[in-house]
Every structure is written in structure tokens, then in C-alpha cells.
């Protein structure tokens, strides 16, 4: 199972990002756990400045926008 964390200070874009990842995972029936991380300290530890950012299994894969569908599918495979 993949652990996906969405980094962001709770803005609407971050919520949307988490929702989209969850719905695509359901669609592809991939098991994931999506968590939202709002602590500035943790966000800083990944060196992220533009949110929302996405971390898959502890690797930062994306930052600065709501990810595209193709990107998400890529991470889930």
C-alpha cells in the first residue's frame, strides 16, 4: 500500500488535491492511505515552498499546484 501525504496549510487547493488522489485511486482500485499534513515544520523539512505538494512514500514528487490526472496515475502505478 502506498502512503501519500498532501502538504499544505489547509487551503482549498490542498483539499482538492487529496480528494482527487483518493478518487483516482478508487477508480484504479489501488490501495492508498492519503493524509493531509499542515504543520509548517514538516512542510519545511521537505524543502517545499509552494503548496499543495505531494509526498509518495516519503519522496517529494510534486509541488505548487493541483496535480494533473496523468501524474497521479503515474504515482499510483
Amino acid at each position: 500500500m502506498k502512503n501519500i501525504t498532501v502538504l499544505g496549510s489547509g487551503c482549498t487547493k490542498c483539499k482538492k488535491t487529496a480528494e482527487i488522489i483518493e478518487s483516482i485511486a478508487r477508480e484504479l482500485s489501488v490501495e492508498v492511505s492519503v493524509t493531509k499534513e499542515t504543520s509548517p515544520q514538516v512542510i519545511m523539512s521537505f524543502g517545499v515552498m509552494s503548496t499543495p505538494a505531494v509526498v509518495v512514500d516519503n519522496n517529494l514528487v510534486h509541488s505548487g499546484s493541483i496535480p494533473l490526472r496523468e501524474q497521479i496515475i503515474n504515482w499510483l502505478e
Binding site: G8, S9, G10, C11, K13, P40, Q41, I43, M44, G47, V48, M49, S50, T51, S63, G64
Partner: protein
Amino acid sequence: MFQIFTDFSSWLTYAILGLSSETKLGDAVHFFIEDVSKIFALLIVMIYVIALLRASLNVERVRDYLSRKHRGIGYLMGSSFGAITPFCSCSSIPVFLGFTSAGIPVGITMSFLLTSPLINEVAILLLMSLLGWKFTVLYVFVGMCVGILGGLFLDMIKAERWLQSFAAEALKKGQSNSQTVTQATADGSQRMTIVERHEFAKTEAGEIFGRVWKWVIIGVGLGAALHGFVPDGWIEQHLGDRQWWSVPAAVLLGIPLYSNATGVIPVMESLITNGLPVGTTLAFCMSTVAASFPEFILLKQVMQWRLLATVFVMLLFAFTVVGWIFNAFTPFL
């Protein structure tokens, strides 16, 4: 080139809606339709064009650039980048920490963050079309001065003493090895193709417009109400520049009113054309845009109360001084 919007509004107000140009209502509706149609058209075209130009600029690049700069011009550069770099205010904490952990002094980071809400492409565009280029230049100049001097002041009083402990540690670490941190995000540095720029600009235009259109309607609506219904000379008489206290009062009034620059500029236009002195108007608007409680509560995550209060008082003081100076010099402009 703006005549077309006046004609369109006249046609809609007088011919279609059948209002008389002699009535207050007709006057207010005409003003509303003209301004809203003009601003909407300008916004969509200009946000797209500007986004095309600055597609490859992002906060990561700014950080890398600023961390290599000498302190002296750092404030000026921080403030300039604050004006032109696109970033959402919900990112201000990560940006603050990102800059800090790259070893950039707190003052320079604050120059960036203070200027950012005051000056942006939408604000400049609205100012140009509603209040003319002279006022626009003035506004940009003052906005940058507040950012630069504010940053300088914070470094002079050694504001980093009052950061939250984890942020202070990040700053110390960053200053001792500023080379390593800046390599964390390298993907922003690739060159963009025309198609990518177009895609970026299209998304930006759609997104910004989607966010600000309602502010334009509210702002212009308030402006139209003032325009049509507040008697001529009333503002001048009661809030004119002879009353020194009107400037600090305007600043205080602006704090609980939170708006972005887009919404407040149409209100500015009608306040000024109704006779409110330029300095008082500027003070009010800057306070509305830059000193807001939601923003300050966010900053609490990285700053101790003392620093937070200092920044707040500093901003209120700065806006008041801006107001007084402009009221004093308006006769000479």
C-alpha cells in the same frame, strides 16, 4: 480605447434599461456597468499576457537568487520580487520558512512578503485604468518603500530573536551552509516552451479571474453607491485633509475590513473622485489589503507574539505616515 465601454454602458443603461441619465440611480448604474465591463475585459487580457511573460518565475527561483545576493540590495530585490512573483497568500508560511532555511535574513524575507499583497499585476492594471498612470507610479513606489523600509527596520531591531524556535534554528543552519539547501528543488529551472507558457497563462487567467470577479463586483458596487448617493462635497467636508486624525482613523478602520487589492481599488477610485484626500485613501486601502487578522494569525506559526505585534504596529505606523506625507504633498502633484 476605453470609449467603447462608456458607449456600451450608455446603451445598456439608457436605451435598454430605460433609466434617465438625470437620476441618481441612472448615474450609479451607468458607472457600475461601465467599470465592471472595462475591468473584466482588461483583467482577462492582461492577466494572460503577464502570465505568459512571467511563466518561468517562481518562489524557488527567487529564493535561490536572493540567497546569493548582498544584503544591501537584498531589500530592494526582495520587495521587487514580492511585487512580480505569483504566489498565493496561503503559501506565505512555507515561503517564509523556505527563505529562512536558505539563510536569507528575516528583513529581506519580510520585504518580499509585505510587498506581495500590496502590489500585483491586477492591482496595477486597475489603478492604471481607473486612476491614471501618475497615481499608479505613486502607489507602486510607496508600496515598495513600505516593504523595503519595513524589512530594514526588522533587521535593525534583530527581529530573528523573536522567531519561533524551530524557525530560528532553520535560519542559523541556513546561514552556515546556504549552499546545500538551495539544491532541494531543481525542477523549476528548465526552460519552458511556448505551448507550456500558453497553458500556464491560460490556467492563470482562468484561476485569477475566477477568484477576483466577485471582488470587482462588490468593489465597483460600493463605488457606484458612493458615486451616486453620497452628496458631492460631503466627504471633503467631513474627512478632508484639515483633520489630521482622519489618516490614523482610516488606517484603523481598514484593519477589520479585509480585502485584496482588487476589491479595494474601485472603492479607492470613488473615494478620491468624491473628494477624500489621496493620502487618506492610500492609507485606508493599504491597511485593508496588507494588515489583516487572518494573515497575522497564520504568521503566528513562525513568529512569537512580540515580533507579530511589532510587525503589526510597524505597518499601522507606516501607513499613517504614508497618508500624512501624501496629503501634505498632493497640492504639488
